[in-house]
């Protein structure tokens, strides 16, 4: 191992630090303070933190080298399905660093943050226009948080109208794991809906489950549209009507909104409430796993329950509004992930109305093109026009050659591409879920398809190569069982 690849703690040399801490700055005449007496002994820290002590160059090398061990959109194609790994424009990063955005406090006088409040207000307006849902809250911190917040809104609504017994939420079997998990956190019971052979909601099953829930049992349907197979729920309006007639609300998981932007609006096809993922659809970066933002959009009916604070406009002045008796309250501190909002706002303004529409169009174009190219090498789970993504199944390869989706993924790493999402959605065996996004060029898609084709060929001729892959990465396949059986979750002084 190169010495610079050790853990920070192993590089630590007592007495070093990468930053000289500032000396205390005292007001005039305060030099005489007896600093030892400022804290009672029992409140003073006695134990050492043992934080690593390294010089600045060692620190720079440490993190620079670590960064180089990541695959990232900035270095290669990263078609992780359901994650919308699109280009993150650098202008977003430049503007959010402005002190006029970064150095603001949530409790400043509203007169001092009119630009920021105005940005929040406008961004809500844009998201409302894009979704067709008139009211937006930018409060939630990520997609799953948006789901939870939205489910709370639904629950609060039913509580308010005396129907708090509605506790059933219907969720298609193709849904993302956060959907049922969020339901549980909100005190809802989930019932799974079967997908039909077209990969869409089975309307008969839906009817059955609605019935089974009893007259006042359905709280909501949580539907993802386009769904996680990359398919548009053609009968969404009919589905929404069924739910509505049962007194339920239609919740849409908006993780896949990229496909629809400027083309079709959830609010127009029967959705009552949805979440957005700003870190996916709106190009704010994924940051190795966040921060994100998971705004929610609602109909007029549900608006009173939105979390606080709201940002409202009085004449020309923007202000926070907290006094909202029907609100669910807060699901986090402060207004939301403002830094993420700035980026999303910047992105929308860069694209504008025509650009936003071209996003949707080209996301779908790229996905279909790649589907056709890869479809030559492997079965597409639902071989017809897809939206922003599509799912392949390696079932045959697994059966005939013992090569599984995970082996293909690992081998793609050796070709220098990040693999697609694998084993999701759960209803497709040996699934590879591929979302190229609109920001990739045709030549990248061609190159990926070529590499993929070669791997499939190799899988048939020399499957062992795939089982041993990857070989070009900093480490090879990791022993995940050992990680659980002999857990090492932190460094400890040896």
């Amino acid at each position: 191992m190169h010495p610079d690849d050790r853990l920070l703690f192993e590089k630590s040399r007592p007495g070093m630090n990468a930053i000289e801490a500032p000396r205390p700055e005292l007001p005039k005449g305060a030099e005489s303070l007896d600093t030892a007496s400022l804290l009672p002994a029992e409140l003073r820290r006695q134990s050492a933190t043992d934080l690593p002590a390294v010089g600045q160059l060692d620190l720079v090398r440490h993190y620079t080298r670590l960064s180089r061990k990541n695959f990232a959109i900035s270095t290669t194609f990263y078609p992780l399905g359901s994650c919308t790994m699109k280009f993150n424009p650098l202008i977003n990063e430049t503007v959010v660093a402005e002190p006029g955005f970064a150095d603001l406090h949530p409790y400043q006088n509203e007169d001092d943050i009119q630009g920021a409040l105005g940005l929040v207000f406008e961004l809500e307006r844009y998201l409302a226009e894009i979704s067709g849902l008139p009211h937006i809250s930018l409060h939630p911190a990520a997609g799953a948080h948006g789901e939870l917040t939205a489910l709370m809104v639904i629950r609060e609504h039913f509580r308010k109208i005396g129907e708090d017994d509605r506790r059933t939420v219907l969720i298609p079997d193709s849904a993302h794991g956060t959907n049922p998990a969020s339901c549980t956190l909100c005190g809802f019971k989930t019932v799974e809906l079967k997908s039909n052979e077209d990969g869409l909601v089975d309307i008969d099953d839906l009817k059955k489950k609605i019935e089974a829930a009893g007259p006042k049992g359905i709280a909501a349907l949580m539907i993802t549209n386009p769904n996680t197979l990359g398919l548009f729920e053609r009968r969404i309006q009919e589905i929404a009507e069924l739910i509505h007639s049962a007194g339920g609300k239609v919740y849409m998981d908006g993780a896949n909104l990229n496909a629809l932007m400027g083309i079709s609006r959830p609010g127009d096809f029967g959705v009552d409430i949805m979440h957005f993922n700003l870190h996916k659809t709106f190009s704010t970066p994924h940051g190795t796993g966040g921060p994100g933002a998971g705004p929610i959009g609602v109909t007029d009916e549900l608006e009173p329950y939105l979390p606080i604070p709201r940002v409202v406009k009085d004449g020309e002045r923007f202000r926070f509004e907290e006094n909202r008796p029907s609100s669910i309250g807060r699901t986090r501190a402060f207004v939301g992930n403002f830094g993420v909002m700035v980026r999303a706002y910047t992105y929308i303004r860069a694209l504008g109305r025509a650009g936003i529409r071209r996003v949707g169009e080209n996301a779908v174009l790229n996905a279909n093109y790649l589907r056709v190219l890869l479809g030559k090498h492997m079965a597409v789970a639902h071989p017809r026009l897809c939206m922003h993504e599509f799912v392949l199944t390696a079932r045959r390869l697994a059966k005939e050659h013992g090569v599984k989706a995970t082996d293909l993924a690992k081998r793609l790493l050796d070709s220098g591409f990040h693999p697609p999402t694998i084993y999701f959605p759960l209803i497709v065996p040996e699934a590879l879920m591929i979302e190229p996004t609109e920001t990739e060029s045709k030549s990248t898609l061609d190159a990926f398809a070529q590499a993929f084709g070669q791997i499939i060929e190799e899988a048939q001729k020399n499957p062992e190569k795939l089982h041993q892959a990857p070989t070009t990465t900093p480490v090879q396949r990791m022993d995940e069982v050992r990680a659980v059986k002999q857990p090492v979750l932190r460094w400890r002084r040896g």
Partner: protein, 446 residues
């Protein structure tokens, strides 16, 4: 549009390959009735130069805290962010990667989180930590949920001295779960120990308190934890992470879960987000922990490496039985926290905390020399925030300070209407002596 890569020629080629005539045909799966037949009503796009100008104009409509002396705290405190944090966390391989599902392609992030977990454990004095949740408030809510699932008593007790937005969040999370939330009153600016004992008498899954609390006062964490444990409740402590450079960490007094907001560790205040939520606990609770955890293991060649582990707790595997619904967390901000802690190191971390402590106390001394100004809870220990009694309404005082170019403190009347003549002032290592002098001079003019 430079963000979209297809030229018209290429679009045509691709459509041909797909076997359709036009882009419109691709949307055949959408019934006509679901289509938007018009342009979106959002502004037209902007070239980069115009956009940048526009954004700078928007930014200029805000007054950054750094424009003058600032004493706002109450959940966001200003600290010096070393430039390496921006430079290193800005590496695009961190910024534009996602959750490390493929460990071989993500050893960078994974090692970062492993080290982050270690450093959070080190400063809190706890055994383990996860790799971040959203923020301090949701961390508290997750901690309560974890306590509920461990202790199985449908009752949570929380100190009224916890941040009001944290308490709100807790209330919202618990409201739908048939859990009783009980608030314990204060005494002299601290959680009332007797009232706490009493509130726990009928049992609870956890006692939640914050130290330093919302009024800036350091709680007697040892006593509170003991009270909780006597009632078989877990002790959940919300911390200001930087305070742990000088203040005894909850691990030292046997707390069960430590949460907090990571903003003071290398994150700009950003109007309240994003920063990251800290979550540390005992190793034996590992299977009930929310969020992502990175573990060390080896590859086939015996090389040391890192993976996401104990994933069976998580929603993508456990779905409605998961410990939490969290998926995307606040990784990039946690990375900032990690770089910050590593940059300060053992010595620097203690030194910054000491600076906050000393400067806040020096400021307290200077402020209380002003006629009509006194510490609201004189004699109580505090870290970097002080609750000050004022000769006039805090609202009015803040208006006066604003005129002098000073960003005043948090109006405690918002916390408790009875305290409308008091404000909470934050003084950290970036508050200069001159800042305090200006504040004092302005206060004298009241």
């Amino acid at each position: 549009m430079p963000y979209i890569q297809n030229t018209e020629n290429e679009q045509r080629e691709m459509l041909r390959a797909i076997g359709v005539e036009s882009i419109k045909d691709l949307f055949e799966p959408l019934p006509a009735s679901t289509r938007l037949g018009r342009d979106l009503d959002i502004p037209v796009g902007m070239d980069e130069a115009s956009l940048r100008r526009h954004m700078i104009e928007l930014a200029k409509k805000n007054r950054p805290l750094g424009d003058g002396p600032s004493f706002l705290g109450a959940g966001r405190t200003r600290h010096y962010v070393p430039v390496i944090v921006d430079h290193l966390a800005g590496r695009s391989e961190f910024v534009t990667a996602y959750t490390p599902y493929q460990p071989e392609a993500s050893q960078g992030s994974l090692q970062v989180f492993f080290e982050f977990q270690t450093m959070i454990a080190q400063i809190t004095g706890m055994e383990i930590a996860n790799s971040s949740v959203y923020d301090g408030a949701s961390a508290l809510a997750e901690a309560a949920l974890m306590a509920l699932s461990l202790q199985k008593v449908d009752r949570i007790v929380v100190s009224k001295a916890s941040h009001p937005e944290d308490r709100d969040t807790l209330r919202t999370y618990l409201r739908n779960l048939d859990v009783e939330l009980v608030e314990v009153p204060l005494k002299e600016g601290r959680t009332d120990l007797d009232a706490t004992r009493k509130a726990l008498e009928v049992g609870a899954s956890a006692l939640c308190f914050q130290s330093p609390n919302f009024l800036g006062i350091l709680e007697d964490g040892a006593a509170l934890t003991e009270i909780a444990h006597e009632a078989k409740a877990l002790s959940i402590v919300s911390v200001h992470p930087l305070s742990l450079g000088v203040v005894a960490p909850p691990g030292d007094y046997d707390a069960d879960i430590v949460v907090g907001d990571g903003q003071p560790l290398g994150c700009p205040p950003y109007l309240g987000g994003p920063a990251f939520g800290i979550f540390a606990t005992r190793e034996k609770f590992i299977r009930r922990l929310p969020g992502r955890i990175v573990g060390q293991t080896v590859d086939g060649q015996g090389r040391q490496g890192y993976v996401l582990t104990f994933q069976t707790r998580e929603q993508h595997i456990r779905r409605d039985k998961a410990t939490s619904n969290i998926c995307t967390n606040n990784a990039l901000m946690a990375l900032r926290g990690a770089i910050y802690l590593a940059a300060m190191g053992e010595r620097g971390f203690a030194a910054v905390a000491e600076s906050c402590l000393v400067q806040a106390h020096a400021a307290a001394r200077a402020i209380t020399q002003v006629e009509g100004c006194s510490l609201l809870y004189d004699g109580q220990p505090f870290f970097c925030e002080l609750a000050v009694q004022l000769p006039k309404k805090a609202k009015e005082v803040n208006r006066h300070l604003a005129k002098k170019g000073i960003q005043g403190g948090y109006d405690l009347g918002r916390f408790d209407p009875a305290l409308d003549h008091a404000m909470l002032l934050a003084v950290t290592e970036v508050t200069s002596g001159d800042d305090v002098d200006r504040l004092v001079a302005a206060l004298r003019e009241l």
